[in-house]
Point group: C2
Chain length 359, copies 2
């Protein structure tokens, strides 16, 4: 049975980088004997222009009928003044909600030869290979909000709510992921102050009993914000609630260098997932063939691992990226002197070629 992949290129550099992701998937299919069926859909600003909504029903139906989604990027100055409901970014929120994607995965790893693009010392970066598993649909971003006018001025309120089941499903996901890695989970909370964190910690401790082979530690969020800069190689899987995960995944993103390198996955129940680069649609360089496709290609590796269970193929793609970078090839964003840079397509060709050679 072919794996059905919904491909949503989106705006800006989206189409260019997604092309390279699909190219690499075709190389995987060829080399490993897998079958993928690609079906394309509209999303973001382009969809607004053509059909008046950032997430058309047919795109949503296409995703629902697929095993995984590969998304490029959405947005651009052209739609910046639109009302909230007609903003390209609204499509991402709607997709997460409609598809029940509650786990956001953001890996940060060091690629050899890329040390110079980080602000951390090379010896601190050595061995950095972590993943932040962030709860995506609960917590204070989605709690009740209010604003009141009192005699002494205004008062604003936000509410942070977590249910046991919401915590349990993301924590189990994190432990499962740790089993495929170095078997170490760091659960981040603020249990010395927050009630929701105390519930979080008790659920983590209970779930951990089902994973005696995985090492668990608890860390307070302020200490964690310090430790990821002090000793990032300490971490394997970091699991945390929505807002802490938002902060920590952006902090860890910067550890290993360019944001052009960072993939992400958003998972729900089962094996379905949406995969997209962390970076945006970069409208300023769109259509020039100079965009960095690494984040998209690494997102494809995550798809192979987390949605299809093709671990060997996932590693082959990661290894292919590693080898192309190690050979000195860079897109313009990473080439300090622009003249050594290669284009988006050539970079994708070289990775696809390395995937084929690998087998």
């Amino acid at each position: 049975m072919a794996k059905k992949i919904a491909v949503l290129p989106g705006d800006g550099i989206g189409p260019e980088i997604v092309d390279e992701g699909v190219k690499v998937l075709r190389a995987v299919a060829e080399s490993f004997g897998y079958r993928f069926a690609f079906r394309f859909g509209m999303v973001g600003g382009g969809a607004i222009d053509r059909v008046g909504t950032p997430l058309p029903q047919e795109t949503l139906d296409l995703c629902r009928d697929s095993d995984a989604v590969l998304l490029g990027a959405v947005g651009g100055p052209r739609w910046d003044d639109n009302p909230p409901e007609l903003r390209p970014e609204k499509a991402l929120l709607s997709l997460r909600k409609e598809l029940g994607l509650f786990a956001n995965l953001r890996p940060a790893m060091l690629f050899e030869g890329m040390e110079q693009s980080s602000t951390l010392r090379p010896e601190v970066l050595k061995g950095v290979d972590l993943i932040v598993v962030r709860e995506l649909t609960g917590g204070i971003y989605f709690g009740e909000k209010s604003r009141e006018r009192l005699e002494e001025g205004e008062r604003a309120t936000d509410t942070l709510v977590y249910h046991e089941w919401e915590i349990e499903r993301i924590v189990r996901r994190a432990f499962d992921i740790a089993r495929g890695r170095r078997k170490r989970v760091t659960s981040v909370d603020k249990a010395n102050v927050l009630e929701s964190s105390r519930l979080w910690r008790s659920v983590v401790n209970r779930v951990a009993e089902d994973y005696p082979d995985v090492e668990l530690e608890h860390m307070l969020v302020d200490n964690c914000a310090m430790q990821v800069v002090r000793k990032p190689s300490h971490f394997d899987v970091i699991v945390t609630e929505n807002m802490f995960g938002d902060i920590l995944s952006d902090e860890t993103a910067i550890l290993t260098g360019s944001i052009g390198m960072l993939p992400s996955a958003s998972l729900g129940d089962g094996s379905f997932g949406l995969y997209e680069p962390v970076h945006g649609s970069a409208p300023d360089i769109a259509g020039q063939g100079v965009a960095n496709p690494v984040a998209t290609i690494l997102s494809v590796a995550m798809m192979l691992r987390h949605s299809f269970g093709y671990e060997e193929a996932a590693r082959a793609v990661e290894q292919a990226v590693r080898s192309v970078l190690a050979a000195g090839y860079r897109t313009a964003d990473l080439a300090p002197s622009g003249d050594l840079a290669i284009g988006t397509e050539e970079f994708g060709d070289r990775v696809a070629e390395a995937v084929r050679r690998h087998v």
Copy 2:
């Protein structure tokens, strides 16, 4: 009129490091012709042992009758199993509350010659000199909390509340502080998601009108967690709410190296303030004369600046610390090969001497 300073040495290395702080204040008094009246009080574990409470009423009265408080550190394994009300750390919370200290100041600056103790590259550290101004008495740490048992399991709730006046007083404080520095304020919030952050941002914009000489920027907290690692020299004054400040002040703490170097101030209305090192009581090395007094001495510099308005004296103390470090003197925690280390007292002597020479 002599400035009345309440001195609370506390537990562990507290008494040793506070001695050096007082020593430096005496050198300042001598050199600049100021008068300080030191009065000592019990706090923390020692107070529990002697009078059965971590913050005796007479200590609180002493603080209230003073112009500033110099605190060492509290806590130790001896009291770790005490109930919450009889924990040494309870004294800190009570002091903040009773004294109305709503602004926590945590500077992070680079001392020449200390670059090797940071995990960031030396060129990234160049020019780092920032201060985090954190709201200390409001927000989610102090909001209503609850836990309910529903049919599908437990649910936990925390509440984040801010009043306009709470925001205004901390923001004004931050702008005032910026005027004595590089005149740049970064206000950190999550205004794209949180209602309390939208109120925060509107108050900041209103207050900023009274400070046309100070440059203001708004930054989202997740981006800020990234930017302080990417380009820490960008920042001058960071002002933010309680929890964001907790996370960011710990993250910035690690930028410039040892936590043994970091001072702090907690301010209320007017010029009263409490000054203490960020580090703890380090019971493992207490009484050995090897503790690093730099954080306490720099806290004394903050006292001179923020409570007494003795800016020149404050700079003289900071310059003295700088010159002693530049001459190669280190306490054991900072001397990679222990044999070059000097003791707590000798370090304090050298700083006091440098203060005297400065004038």
